[in-house]
């Protein structure tokens, strides 16, 4: 069972309690096996959550929730931390502005023991100066998964911002909310798109509120990619 979209205390809009240790404990309590750490435009806490959750046998996929120039949110998930950090460098190079904690909230960088190691100065809630297609291309060139976050939500969702899915956009899946049934999503977006559900948790209690169950051999990104494509016996269970 996977929750592929959670935030940490690095996201200015997330609760301060979203620290690596506490996230790991909450994920164990909810019996999650795979977590995707997707802070806004940054992966600086992914390693700490991976270490803390790894000790409890939970696999963490390092990622980011990237805001494209069109203000569409795209989840980028990677197998390796290096790929996530390389994507982060690319996004940082296209991300203007400095965070004002008093307006947006603090952007806390933490270690795996919940120690505060720093504050990210970038304006993480800003949009990167990269078009949607450019964001997706950069994720895929790093062997990552590109998923339209909360695709059915009006604010920052792909369909709300751009009306419909651009032709030829190389997405791996759509993340849909609890407001939409799978049947409704298939009718609305076409039968071809793999659909996932995740919590988009900004607070501890919300972790695992929505999840996707996959039939996989191992808890690896490549396995999830196969499940999304329905390849080699891997598939989405629910």
């Amino acid at each position: 069972m996977a929750d592929l979209h959670i935030h940490t205390c690095l996201s200015p809009c997330a609760d301060v309690e979203m620290s690596p240790l506490r996230i790991a404990e909450e994920a164990r309590r909810k019996r999650l096996e795979i977590l995707g750490v997707c802070d806004h435009n940054s992966a600086e806490n992914a390693a700490a959550v991976a270490e803390a959750a790894g000790r409890l046998g939970i696999r963490v996929l390092p990622g980011m929730e990237i805001t494209s120039r069109e203000e569409v949110h795209i989840l980028a998930l990677f197998e390796e931390l290096e790929a996530a950090l390389s994507m982060q460098a690319e996004i940082y190079a296209h991300l203007a502005g400095e965070n004002d904690e008093t307006v947006f909230g603090p952007q806390i960088i933490a270690d795996a023991e919940d120690g505060v190691t720093g504050f990210c100065p970038k304006l993480l809630l800003n949009a990167a100066a990269l078009p949607l297609e450019g964001v997706v291309d950069r994720i895929r060139s790093r062997n990552g998964l590109a998923i339209a976050a909360h695709a059915d939500r009006e604010s920052f969702g792909l369909l709300g911002q751009l009306g419909f899915i651009p032709e030829g956009l190389a997405l791996d899946a759509l993340e849909i909310s609890a407001h939409l049934s799978t049947a409704e999503a298939r009718e609305r977006y076409g039968p071809a798109w793999p659909l996932i559900r995740s919590s988009d948790a900004h607070a501890l209690r919300d972790i695992g509120r929505a999840t996707t169950s996959f039939a996989l051999e191992t808890a690896a990104l490549g396995e999830i990619r196969m499940a999304l494509g329905g390849i080699g016996g891997r598939h989405i269970l629910s």
Binding site: R69, E70, E71, P131, L132, E133, E154, L159, G160, Q161, L162, G163, F164, P166
Partner: protein, 114 residues
């Protein structure tokens, strides 16, 4: 008012001017959420936006809009321009903000009365 007259009077910069420039404009709509524009814009409206993604051309075609005006001197994406040429969708730009452009359009289309 014909769109060509409107473009002249507003000093718009053409990016793609091949198409129905003699169309009689029915009004205008301002918005950057394409789902909202699809829901509320009306036929032959001029559309004021800062979105430059190629989906704007499809929305203009779908809703039979008169033209698209990009604000803040934004340039259309390459794919957007190509698609606008293929579909003969009028695509212009202005250095005005969305507020100013919308106000000027409102004034012109309502003969200066509020």
């Amino acid at each position: 008012m014909k769109f060509s007259d409107l473009a002249n009077r507003l000093g718009l910069t053409p990016h793609q001017s091949q198409g129905r420039s003699d169309i009689e404009v029915s009004g205008a709509y301002t918005g950057d959420l394409l789902s909202d524009v699809m829901a509320y814009s009306r036929e032959k409206n001029v559309w004021v936006t800062c979105q430059t993604h190629e989906n704007i051309v499809a929305v203009a075609k779908l809703k039979n809009l008169a033209a698209i005006i990009l604000v803040n001197s934004r340039r259309p994406d390459e794919a957007t321009l190509r698609r606008a040429q293929e579909e003969s969708i009028l695509l212009y730009a202005t250095s005005d903000t969305a507020f100013i452009m919308t106000g000027r359009l409102y004034t012109l289309l309502n003969s200066g009365t509020l």
